[in-house]
């Protein structure tokens, strides 16, 4: 078990000068928290630990960062190009002090290549220096680089574990290898392979020892033939595997190129689409500009509107008066008509009674009065003229164009801005596309197709050779048994060795699959247990493991949940890591960079409550988006043994301060 005590950095990445982190090491207070905003240096702390142990720092997409880019530039410009990381740890009762330094070569003014630095590594064990060639062995005893992804991990990369669910995925294969390393499978694989080599060696010795016996001659000859054939197949296999590796690398290089070209094609398509968009903008601009011109040309109406309104008001008053007069005259005319009709009858048309004389006189008087009072009038003509003028004036009184003018101006500005942006984007995309030869791209594609077929052909050849080798080995075993059954075999020492290594090879070989099977069951059980504690979905019943150690989520009916969110992916990955930690050899401290980035607060709380109880030491590098306040940490406050904050001093300068 390893316990990390101190990490010290000098001019490492953004950490100008000397910075020290004392890691919480007590069993009950085993959590160290480091807060820092993005771009302040959280990942650099993870990289400092990685660099001091393994001499490598990882950038985006898990690619190594060149050494010359690691030292703090601000310190360098001030003349201090020295970079150093130092860790102190305890393992198996011994105290270790490991220091890795990069020092600029004296004749270099400003380093621009890895070769411009000398790197020195020193290790002290219980105060005694460890020989340089033993340092990697000492490190690998406690925190092997091959399994470092399980204790120095970047939360952003947790989604990589999903590739374990895809059969044949290269990334998944690499992770599977790492998993088997942490679980100890390679020791058995090495045992099988080494025993095979030693068996072959001893078989050759036995061939020599037994050739004096006639009874063994034919068996030994047969064994020699088969051994020679196995040797040839094994040599072929080495070459085939090397070719397979080369072909895969070439194909991956072309994949990278074509991926880039895909981006180029996409950039060209985007540029073409933007050209069309730009044309539409221009047309729309013309339409709006024309509308604006039209609005401006009629804007004089606004100035005349007051006079027109006054006139309109007058005319409407006149129209009203004339209309009243016309109505009155119409009523008089109607009454005259009625009186004339009455006076034209001598008797009532309904009851045939004679009309009263007095009534007729009165009606006659009324008729005379009315006919005398109706003047000749020009009112109809006059009202028509007024109404005509009102109509004309109403045309002049239109809505104010000011608001519309403002809108047009704003639209034109918006369109101008959009056009400028589109033009800028088109220019950027054209620059991206510039210089690419489409014929070359076609050649890449054709080569890639050839390489894919070549890969498949080599894989088939490897598979056939493996099968031939397995058959020959089986035959050899039979021959071994036959030779060892001969009475003369007891007289030669090598026979015992052949038998011993033959058994040893079979035992280790059988154990590899047996162990894998048992480990998968154990990891599945431990990861399921962790998952049930970490997930907030109580309907999930656990996890199911596949041959690659990929984990699928099971619902309450034990069916596999097909679609998983990024957050669920992260929980499954953390469950796998916890399951591996509890099944495999203890890896000591766990340093997690941005572990809660994709998680909601409930999942984060579950992890915060769970991980400190399973890891010996936990270093969390977190930002404000993940843990917003002290209240978020309430449940692990008793576990926190050290707390730091990364302060921003400048773009190339951060400082670690104790919180």
């Amino acid at each position: 078990m390893m316990v990390l005590q101190v990490v010290e950095m000098v001019n490492f990445m953004p950490f100008k000068g000397c910075h020290k982190l004392e890691i919480a090491a007590s069993e009950m207070q085993n959590v160290t928290l480091v807060f820092g905003d993005n771009m302040r240096g959280k990942t650099s702390i993870l990289n400092a630990v990685r660099w001091v142990f393994y001499g490598v720092a990882m950038g985006r997409h898990s690619k190594p960062i060149p050494l010359w880019q690691l030292p703090n530039k601000e310190a360098g410009l001030e003349g201090d190009w020295r970079m150093e990381v130092r860790v102190k740890f305890i393992a198996d009762g011994a105290t270790y002090d490991l220091r890795r330094q990069a020092l600029k070569k004296a004749h270099i003014a400003c380093p621009e290549r890895d070769e411009d630095y000398d790197v020195h590594v020193n290790m002290m064990k219980d105060g005694m220096p460890v020989a340089a060639h033993h340092i990697p062995t000492e490190i690998n005893r406690y925190i092997p680089e091959q399994v470092s992804r399980f204790f120095l991990f970047d939360g952003e990369l947790l989604q990589e574990y999903e590739s374990l669910l895809v059969e044949g995925d290269e990334q998944g294969r690499q992770i599977k290898e790492s998993i088997e390393k942490v679980l100890g499978v390679p020791a058995l694989i090495n045992g099988r392979d080494y025993a095979g080599v030693l068996l072959k060696k001893m078989q050759k010795v036995q061939n020599q020892d037994m050739k004096q016996f006639a009874a063994a001659a034919s068996l030994i000859d047969s064994r020699k033939v088969k051994q020679e054939r196995i040797d040839i197949i094994e040599k072929d296999l080495v070459q085939l595997k090397a070719r397979s590796l080369r072909t895969r690398q070439q194909r991956e290089e072309l994949d990278d190129c074509l991926e880039k070209v895909e981006a180029i094609y996409s950039a060209k398509a985007n540029a073409d689409a933007l050209e069309k968009e730009l044309k539409r903008c221009s047309e729309e601009h013309d339409v709006v500009a024309e509308k604006k011109r039209s609005l401006v040309s009629s804007s004089w109406k606004v100035l005349a509107s007051r006079v027109v309104l006054q006139r309109l008001n007058d005319l409407q008053g006149q129209e009203k008066e004339i209309a009243v007069r016309i109505d009155k005259r119409q009523a008089v005319k109607l009454e005259i008509e009625q009186l004339k009709r009455i006076l034209s009858y001598s008797e009532c048309p309904t009851c045939r009674q004679p009309v009263d004389g007095a009534y007729r006189n009165s009606a006659g008087e009324r008729l005379g009065f009315l006919e005398g009072g109706v003047p000749d009038s020009q009112d109809e003509e006059e009202i028509n003229e007024i109404r005509s003028e009102i109509r004309n004036l109403n045309r002049l009184i239109s809505k104010s164009p000011i608001d519309e003018l403002r809108k047009c101006t704003s639209d034109i500005q918006g369109l101008d801005l959009r056009s400028i942006r589109i033009e800028g984007e088109i220019e950027r995309l054209r620059q991206e596309v510039k210089g690419y030869d489409t014929a070359e791209i076609m050649r890449w594609r054709a080569n890639r197709d050839v390489l894919i077929k070549e890969e498949a052909r080599i894989e088939e050849a490897i598979s056939n050779s493996d099968a031939d080798r397995a058959k020959l080995l089986k035959d050899l075993r039979q021959i071994d048994v036959s030779i060892n059954a001969l009475p003369q075999a007891n007289d030669v020492k090598s026979s015992k060795y052949v038998q011993y290594f033959s058994v040893l090879e079979r035992v280790f070989s059988d154990s590899v699959e047996r162990l894998r099977e048992n480990l998968r069951t154990r990891v599945e059980s431990a990861a399921s247990e962790a998952f049930k504690k970490l997930t907030t979905q109580k309907m999930y019943s656990g996890l199911k493991i596949n041959n690659n150690y990929g984990l699928a989520i099971l619902d309450e009916k034990m069916s596999v949940v097909g679609i998983r969110s990024a957050g669920a992916e992260q929980i499954v990955a953390l469950s796998l890591i916890d399951g591996l930690g509890r099944t495999g050899r203890s890896a000591g401290p766990i340093v997690m960079d941005t572990p809660f980035g994709r998680l909601d607060t409930k999942h984060r709380d579950n992890i915060l409550a769970y991980l400190p109880t399973t890891a010996r030491q936990l270093v969390l590098l977190v930002h404000d988006g993940e843990i917003k306040s002290r209240a978020d940490l309430a449940q692990i406050s008793h576990r926190i043994g050290a707390e730091y904050t990364i302060h921003h001093i400048g773009p190339r300068h951060s400082e670690i301060r104790e919180a």
Partner: protein, 63 residues
């Protein structure tokens, strides 16, 4: 039970199934050697040590 115990258990079972099995002590010793040297680049020295274990058991009259 950690993965070491599980590996030893697998070896014990496999050895038990062999007709001409070797003493489990020899297998266990070989396994522990391999675990300690799993990241050792000098494979030939590991194989020499495996031979030493074999010699100890075969020539020491244990088999």
């Amino acid at each position: 039970m950690d993965s070491n115990d599980m590996a030893l258990e697998a070896l014990r079972t496999s050895n038990g199934l062999e007709r001409d099995h070797v003493p489990f002590e020899a297998i266990e010793q070989t396994y522990r050697l391999l675990v300690n040297r799993v990241y050792e680049r000098d494979e030939s020295s590991t194989m020499r040590m495996m031979e030493e274990i074999a010699k100890k058991y075969l020539e020491g009259g244990r088999i």
